[in-house]
Symmetry: C2
Subunit: 271 residues, 2 copies
């Protein structure tokens, strides 16, 4: 059974094709505004990588912010449920998932078997999200992908005391004017965003094992700082940006099996 | 009796000289970073306007964010108390003061005789403060002083749905990309900031008469929108940016009288 999970996020669409809800056979990612509309491009890419067409897919499940827009979907599942399921696929037994996207932060408390017990989320305030780092990297004229490596070179503690992105930006500008070094300022930024992320995660209750997913989890300095703040090791995976899509592909598989089972039973009853 | 009130704020220092705690005889304002350090410049300016020197001043009261830094002060009074007293001087009988500065918003509930009953304040988040308008005027390349006049020309409702300054900035950029007009976008910005300000004011409990003070009160469109949101007329005054300094000068006068009375009594007892 071949299933497709599509995660239509606010900044990128991600697709994963799985066999029997257990093996990833293809995946793709298309940023929003990449020529063709994001989801269409991601689906075309994943099918090309798979070497088949939509007719080869038994069941499609959509998730994420824009999941309603995907007409081809057989099923829609909330982002949180898909993230929980995807995280448990990548990190079996995980109890806490800290997911940091470009526009939101979520902390999930799970039962160790892929089920969500509780969550907290912030999608109203840019502080603590990837957007905070975007804004800072622009002010510092440092590529977002360079932040971790640069911040790791810091020799001195520089404090960013505001939590607000806008007020923090002003602090960064005055640190630059005071000739603080870029690595020290970046380290201050990492400390600031990490303390905010850790604060949110603590509200959901942290239970090991802990993983971090989403774009910001590729910043190893943020991972390290949050880990220190919550006093627990944090696992990451380069596949974690496909978390939601993986969860969706597994839900598609479960939903397909259930539907087929029900059809058999119903057929049985009618005869 | 001549008293001096000095309000050392985060973006400007303001001074007021009063006679007998009732007449304003001189005033000055010096933005932070205006050559000489802000407070010194403001004091020099107000004395020049008064035509005297520090020795002509009977009592000095400092208030605001940086009040501790003024060594010459005989007394320090909190910003909130000075704002309340100053507002009641400018608007006798006022019950609600909405003060919007560059970095914070305060709503004061007063007893109609210059005493503060209750307040709510936001100084952590740029949304709802003057800073929100600064950021937007920069994106729109429109002078901050032009916002009200431009916004008043709006023909159509354009919505800014995020409250966060950072996310709102993104919305403004996409409205520009969608060829919405500058006046319509500015109107959307005014609506957004006003609903946030009104929300804060409602938390303190709004009782007429209501006044708006602080830099943003010079934006007549924000005043109008907030007034609609809270369903009450709002008074403003060009002198309202001196609110805190006026309150401080009145406190200086009260404190001087009290001190002198006490000295007389003590002297009386000793003899
Ligand atoms: S604190 Fe700053 S980043 Fe957060 S909502 Fe307010 S303006 Fe946005």
């Amino acid at each position: 059974i071949i299933t497709l999970g599509v995660d239509i996020g606010s900044s990128a669409s991600k697709c994963v094709i799985m066999r029997n809800g257990s093996d990833i056979v293809a995946k793709s990612l298309a940023p929003v505004g990449a020529g063709t509309s994001g989801p269409e491009k991601a689906i075309a890419d994943v099918l090309q990588q798979y070497g088949g067409s939509l007719t080869d897919i038994h069941w499609i499940c959509a998730t994420g912010y824009g999941r309603n827009s995907l007409k081809a979907a057989n099923k829609e599942v909330s982002e949180l449920s898909c993230h929980a399921k995807g995280a448990n696929y990548l990190f079996p037994g995980v109890k806490t998932v800290i997911d940091i996207g470009g526009q939101d932060v979520k902390a999930l408390h799970m039962d160790g078997q892929g089920r969500l017990l509780n969550f907290v989320m912030n999608d109203k305030c840019a502080a603590g999200t990837g957007r905070f780092l975007d804004v800072m990297s622009r002010v510092l004229e440092t590529d977002i992908g360079e932040l971790a490596a640069q911040g790791a070179l810091s020799q001195k503690r520089v404090t960013i005391s505001s939590t607000c992105t806008v007020f923090s930006e002003t602090e960064v500008i005055s640190h630059l004017a005071n000739s603080e070094t870029i690595p020290d300022i970046i380290n201050g930024i990492h400390q600031s965003v990490s303390s905010r992320i850790a604060g949110l995660a603590k509200r959901v209750g942290i239970e090991a094992p802990v993983v971090m997913t989403g774009g910001v989890s590729r910043n190893f300095e943020v991972v390290r700082c949050v880990s220190e703040e919550i006093n627990a090791p944090i696992a990451t995976s380069p596949l974690s940006q496909f978390n939601g899509a993986i969860g969706a592909a597994i839900y598609a598989w479960e939903s397909y099996r259930q539907t087929k089972n029900n059809e058999t039973i119903i057929t049985g009853r009618i005869l």
